[in-house]
């Protein structure tokens, strides 16, 4: 019923508008097309100024409304330089935007049709054209230079001693794997995958797998100030590890291993204090369309101090042990891990 009403309402509005439009044409005929056109042209030219003013006020208002809702400051060292570069690009493009939009609307208003002025026959000027080929070219060169420098830094090899964590996507959740005491992730192959007791298809012939820890909800536990390298994989379709707060993103592609690294610099708790939001949490979102549950493919990222991390690690049981309770790997070994990793850091 309401649908029918809506259709009728729209039809009615159209008919009314059409009648108004028709009558305005009648007016035109009565007044004489020439005079009517002139008047209308003036009004429209003025409306270009109004549109421009509304446009600028709108931008200002939008900015005021949005800024408090934005993500807090970047939580990684790379993210900090990202924000800086973003700002520079904003200034460059913002200046061009303001200049060109102003000229567009101002010229429209200023050079509206008038009886007493002949349009200026101006078809070509090599000088002008060179100017606005060269200036954008220089601006681009600057942006490219800054961009590439930053790009090659961030895509360079992870620093030695970086913590390695594997993160694997599947429809529709993330699974994370920590290397365990030996600090090395063992081999895995997709044919070994089994949803019951081998989520990632670890190869049990590889001894390095024996101490690996798997967190089936994909939780990432990172240490403040310690570089982390994410080894990214996928079990089924393409997913994407999106880390908004760290300004990082990388696809998870079946059959291919991808990597990113960065150094978290603000712990979750510190960020909760900074934002004044006790529920603040770093989130990992899937950013590549992966099917029906794409929008729900969420994992939590926790940045903590080394001490907190050690406590957490101590509580973890290796995936092998979890699924093979009969063979109990020596528990003492896992306690030695955190100590090891701290050493690595201090050495660095």
């Amino acid at each position: 019923m309401s649908g029918l009403l809506l259709v009728l309402l729209v039809a009615l509005i159209f008919v009314v508008l059409y009648q108004v439009a028709r009558s305005s044409e009648m007016v035109a005929r009565i007044q004489g097309e020439e005079i009517f056109d002139k008047k209308r042209n003036k009004i429209l030219a003025f409306s270009m100024l109004v549109v421009y003013a509304a446009f600028m006020v709108g931008i200002y208002y939008c900015h005021q409304y949005m800024m408090p809702l934005m993500a807090p400051e970047a939580a990684s060292d790379h993210g900090q330089s990202y924000d800086f570069m973003f700002e520079i690009t904003c200034y460059v493009t913002g200046a061009i935007f303001m200049l060109t939009q102003f000229l567009l609307f101002w010229f429209s208003y200023k050079y509206q049709r008038s009886g007493d002025r002949a349009p200026y026959y101006f078809a070509h000027s090599t000088k002008l054209e060179l100017v606005w080929t060269t200036i954008p070219a220089i601006a681009m060169a600057v942006l490219v230079a800054i961009g590439l420098k930053s790009w090659f830094t961030m895509t360079d090899m992870a620093p030695k001693g970086a913590m390695q964590i594997e993160i694997v996507g599947k429809q529709f959740n993330w699974i994370s794997r920590y290397p365990g005491p030996d600090g090395v992730l063992g081999k895995r192959y997709f044919t070994n995958i089994n949803d019951k007791d081998n989520l990632l298809g670890l190869d049990w012939k590889d001894q390095k797998n024996m101490d690996d820890i798997i967190v089936p909800n994909g939780e990432l536990r990172l240490v403040k100030g310690k570089p982390v390298e994410l080894i990214i994989g996928s079990r089924d379709v393409i997913h994407d590890v999106g880390l908004t707060h760290f300004r990082m993103k990388m696809d998870a592609v079946p059959g291919i291993t991808t990597r990113i690294w960065f150094t978290p610099i603000i712990t979750t708790r510190e960020m909760q204090e900074k934002t004044g939001n006790p529920n603040f949490v770093y989130e990992l979102s899937c950013d590549q369309m992966c099917g029906k549950g794409h929008y729900s493919m969420r994992a939590v990222v926790i940045v903590e101090t080394q001490a907190e991390h050690n406590i957490w690690l101590k509580k973890q049981q290796s995936y092998y042990a979890q699924n093979h309770p009969e063979v109990n790997p020596p528990a003492a070994e896992s306690t030695s891990v955190p100590v090891d990793t701290t050493k690595k850091i201090t050495m660095k």
Binding site: E25, L44, W132, P254
Partner: protein, 606 residues
Amino acid sequence: MSNEATIHQHDVHTHDDHSHHEHAHHEHKQHFLTKYVFSQDHKIISRQFLITGIFWAIIGGLMSVFFRLQLGFPEETFKVLNTFLGDWAPNGKMDPEMYYGLITIHGTVLVFFVLTAGLSGTFSNFLIPLQIGARDMASPFLNMLSYWFFAVAGLIMFVSLFTSTGPASGGWTTYPPLSALKEASMGSGIGMDLWLASMSLFVISSLLGGLNYIVTILNMRTKGMSMTRMPLTIWAFLFTAVLGVLSFPVLLSACVLLIFDRHMGTSFYLSEIYIAGKALPNVGGSPILYQHLFWFLGHPEVYIIMLPAMGMASEILSTHSRKPIFGYMAMVLSLIGITVLAFLVWAHHMFVTGMSPFLGGIFVLLTLLIAIPSAVKVFNWLTTIFRGNIRFTVPMLFALGFVSLFISGGLTGLFLGNSALDIHLHDTYFVVAHFHIVMGISAFFGMFAGVYHWFPKMYGRFMNNTLGYIHFFITFAGSYVIFWPMHYEGLAGMPRRYYDFTNWESFKQFADLNHMISIAAIIVFFAQLLFVFNYFVSIWKGKKVTTQNPWNANSLEWTTPILPGHGNWDGPIPEVHRWAYDYRDNGDGGDFIPQNVPLRDGEESH
């Protein structure tokens, strides 16, 4: 023998067969089927493209209204969704599978059916013969086939909406493995097969059209119409066709390989997959290969959409400012620059796929290079209206709106093209905002400008002005209201193609904003219906065109009769003596000199 007579003879000679053919047609009344349905007249075919494009734009627009209802009001239910989507929206709440189906088909339809076929199909067909002085396309028959392949492609896509597993739902890019494995999503079933079939036919349509446009432009220009005297519209259509002819076949190959992977057990795109409880036998393929193939078309496709809009905006800005286009050669060179670069930037869509970062670096450089010809175009448009004598007709407003949107959307490309910034913005609402403004709305504005400007030539009547102005102001304001705030959402990391954000601590604060955007989108959608209404009513009821050249324009289409028949000119085709932008004192009180007016004594050609 006088010069005139020689020309005439020449004319008769070259168009001999053709005109005889025409005359035969004129003599006995044509059957409705051959005149309006299986027509070989480029003007009828162009209207077929346009009206089919309008049909698809309504479908695609309506889809966006539906998924905006979901995005803006994730907690509510809507009866209208149940009415249209049936079991896909039980109790008025859209199923996520259908949500993904809708965004996929919305994208596919708008990009290919509306902004490729509807835009370049319509205007290339309509304007190429009229503006270069030809009686029809080089091959009217292939031209007709081009439309009918498109129509069948559309029909198949339409049918796919009604399959039990729903239409393709992997996004308009349909990346495998998602699109290759029917276990991965419902839309990867028969819906995906129909999508691939439809796109393959569409590629054929586009090739038939494109080859025809190129051949016609290169070979069938009237006497005196040298390449550098062609209106910029024609240059734009030429490069659009070149882009299409060189890149669409790559999409076809991507589709064919995907069909093989889906049905014949090959592993072009598949490797090491465990899905639905079992490991697939496929190893050795690469999903990235598909992305390379797809974007090798996908990126030029953006320019296939943009160039015709640019060409028409150039023409319209010049005509309605009563000034020549500024820097004609620079405009042509920038078109060439964009065309060449369009083939060299595709991998900027793939910075975060794990592609070699070094390769990424090269693509950053090449991508940002495109900003230079684009900037040249913008400054030339601005200089074109500078010190003009602007008539604010509806097409002129849309052309000005086009420039504004092109600037706004083009500048955000500098963020996304720079891999170091893209690594955060990729696949967020920033991208959605960027491409909707620059190749969605701004191309639409070019198209609207073209429709309002050439409607008098198409139907011998004007579209209603008042409705046109209302259409412009609502659409212009609405576009910015919808898409401007999305930049901020994207900067905050809000991912695109999400069905619901309520469970996300990082994105749920935008609920009110999404609410507002949805309302704006619905209003803008209805404003487009107003355009459709205006279009169809004006075909029969619009104000009649009484003069041959209602806009006082220079190009050749305005030398034809008000409603040209098949063959365009009753007498011989006019000869061209000057460039298309001689907007200046004609020595007789007029402010323009059409292309077919001979040079005055002592006048030098441009």
